[in-house]
Subunit: 406 residues, 2 copies
């Protein structure tokens, strides 16, 4: 079902219409208004954005308070509506912190490794930077991406508001497995506590599964350079595909044991209340999901050809299929997935659409390599609980696009 | 010959020594100096770099004038010595321009497409952004990367000085093949002129080979967001693996014809003088190459374990092998290549090394999937011409690392 973007796919029947529309508009233009060429600005030590480009994260508070005093923001959302491709610029990677961003001197930072190990170690950043490293392009998603809209969906939210707590970067660091071998973790150890060095000292218990041992990274690099403070400088845990909260920033301690440590962050927080009153703990993997980023909430489309584009992802592996519906989930067709679809990374999809001017709803649905299919709201609620987020884009007769729940 | 980074590879005999060294150093440290945790800084619209991280491009002039008035710089080099992974941050992507950086209003920018086409078109950025797009992680390398050192190698240059005119980003844009089909390029057309909108109006003739038609991109995105002005905002040509100069920035015109247009940029410039007085034109592909980024010029190493790391790349496809020598090219062994080794993208390699304190020279050698092997200086000069750049790192008894030619 995977459609790799190819010339033949591009030249679909819809693109015949699109092509004609472009040709008609384009031939009417003239070059009269094109500015003269002249000497430009000097070369610099860093490339700034164009003055004509306005792209930024959106600091927000809870629950659903979008226009907030930045000093009180607890998250800052990535501009999914304006991003292209799959990589998120490091300075626009979403943020979610519980006590703000510490400014840590790497020379003073230490990582304590203790518990069921042959030898307790206190590592400096020099020690860590001298170790072998691997790199991985993968997404990170806040455990609660979209959560503040689960009860209702204000009509004027953008996709940045609804889904902006996800980003994809290239993460570089020491394989967790290397450190485990280095300190001589007892084979009987099955859980690891990871603790952060910010004021909230977030600490989570992480099961030492094969997947976590083989893919976990003690990350010090982000998109080719050192982590930024907002994302954990100088060191964070990065577990591809696992819930955001486990990916401890400003990592300062790893303790090895045989059972979960039951910190407040996995008992009082980060659990999901079930219908029977019990709580689901240790969600672990981020589930298969997707979202249309354009056209999306607060945009406007014109009659005729519109290119639908969006992002799909799964904490379980690669995305193998994305379907879209332009009739409110009555019928579905395959979108084109951009290659390569990397495992546990955001994957770009696109589809051609010719809008006939009638009000409708559009939505996407992704499938991963393990066969997991992005559920609709009804089936999810029946299977799990009521903390569920299901968004469609409603388009009215004037072409205005608004986010709507179910 | 490809060694994918794995736990078994990491646990080499050398790492036994490295591990012991780390354990010995680490256990002596205490946590006494670790600062207290406290409230951090507010969340923001963009993540800044740490105040403790100093990473930037280096504006330079020619020939070999490294400390130059920035207003006179003609290139600005990427900090390869400080980068990790494979992605280059967009704001640190190397720059090379002939008349500075124009600040173009995308609303006024136009792309004229004419010549052997069914219909001349003038496209706006809105037209282009509505077209299908693809994304590609690939390197861009200045045709003359390293050129100013070809006659001599000052002893105090860094790898940023010697090889800094290369970077890797994710480029997003319209497939060239889509545009060719859209305008109805005459099948008899075999060459395309691409012209830029800066003060120097760089224009190059590009052969319409299968490779260029299938991989060329009219790029508007860079690492997930709009191009930066330094890199061609709002539109540039991106031809994965092809010499930097062909990748016209601030693209404003494409003209289709049947022969090279012989602009000054491919006759008076960007040709290589041969021993017999003729000039080699249309180099086209960037050849297979690699460089050790650490330890590199102006660094210092200590007795014992050092991790060698660097980057390898080829305009012909994937890197399949990287070898390193730590005895001045007398003997070679395989380094470990980080997966995935993407075609025409920079690929990271690493090797363990235990330095015994004796003066030596270290160097890397890469092989691509087409069987091309990075040549040494003697064989290259014999085969091509004297414009050749061959660097090794010389390490003296004190552990000081200096760049040296051949």
């Amino acid at each position: 079902m995977t459609h790799v973007l190819s010339r033949r796919n591009i030249l679909s029947a819809a693109m015949g219409v699109a092509g004609a529309a472009v040709v008609e508009r384009a031939s009417a233009d003239s070059l009269a208004d094109v500015p003269e060429r002249g000497p430009g600005n000097p070369l610099t030590a860093t490339s700034e954005r164009s003055e004509f480009v306005h792209i930024a994260r959106l600091p927000e508070s809870t629950p659903g308070i979008r226009h907030v005093d930045p000093s009180r923001a607890i998250n800052s959302k990535a501009p999914l509506d304006k991003l292209v491709g799959t990589i998120t610029p490091a300075d626009l990677h979403y943020e979610r912190s519980h006590a703000g961003v510490p400014e840590i001197d790497p020379a003073k930072h230490r990582l304590l490794v203790h518990g069921m190990v042959q030898k307790n170690l206190v590592l400096t950043m020099d020690d860590i930077l001298a170790m072998p490293s691997i790199s991985r392009i993968a997404f990170l998603e806040c455990t609660g991406n979209g959560w503040e809209n689960w009860k209702s969906a204000p009509s004027d939210v953008t996709v940045q508001n609804t889904h902006g707590l996800i980003s994809t970067n290239e993460w570089t660091g020491v394989p967790l497995s290397f450190l485990v071998d280095l300190v001589g973790v007892d084979p009987a150890s099955t859980w690891m506590l990871a603790e952060g060095g910010d004021g909230s000292a977030v600490a989570r218990s992480i099961p030492l599964t094969d997947e976590i041992l083989s893919e976990g990274i003690l990350a010090h690099g982000q998109n080719g350079e050192p982590l930024r403070p907002a994302h954990g400088f100088p060191l964070r845990l990065f577990l591809p595909g696992f819930e955001g909260n486990l990916n401890i920033k400003w990592l300062r301690r790893l303790k090895f044991g045989t059972r979960p440590f039951m910190t407040r962050w996995e008992t009082a927080r980060y659990t999901q209340l079930q219908a029977d009153g019990s709580a689901r703990q240790f969600q672990l993997h981020q589930d298969v999901n997707s979202v249309i980023t354009s056209p999306s909430g607060m945009m406007e489309i014109r009659l005729g050809y519109t290119r639908i584009t969006g992002l799909a992802w799964s904490g379980h592996g690669r995305i193998v299929r994305v379907e879209i519906s332009t009739d409110g989930a009555k019928t579905w067709r395959d979108a084109v997935i951009s290659a390569p679809a990397l495992p546990k990374a955001q994957t770009r999809f696109q589809a051609d659409w010719v809008w006939d001017g009638a009000p409708t709803k559009i939505v996407s649905r992704s499938t991963d390599e393990k066969g997991n299919v992005q559920p609709d709201r009804a089936s999810f609620i029946a299977a799990r609980n009521t903390n569920a987020l299901f968004h469609k884009k409603k388009i009215d007769a004037a072409g205005k696009v608004r986010n709507v729940l179910a």
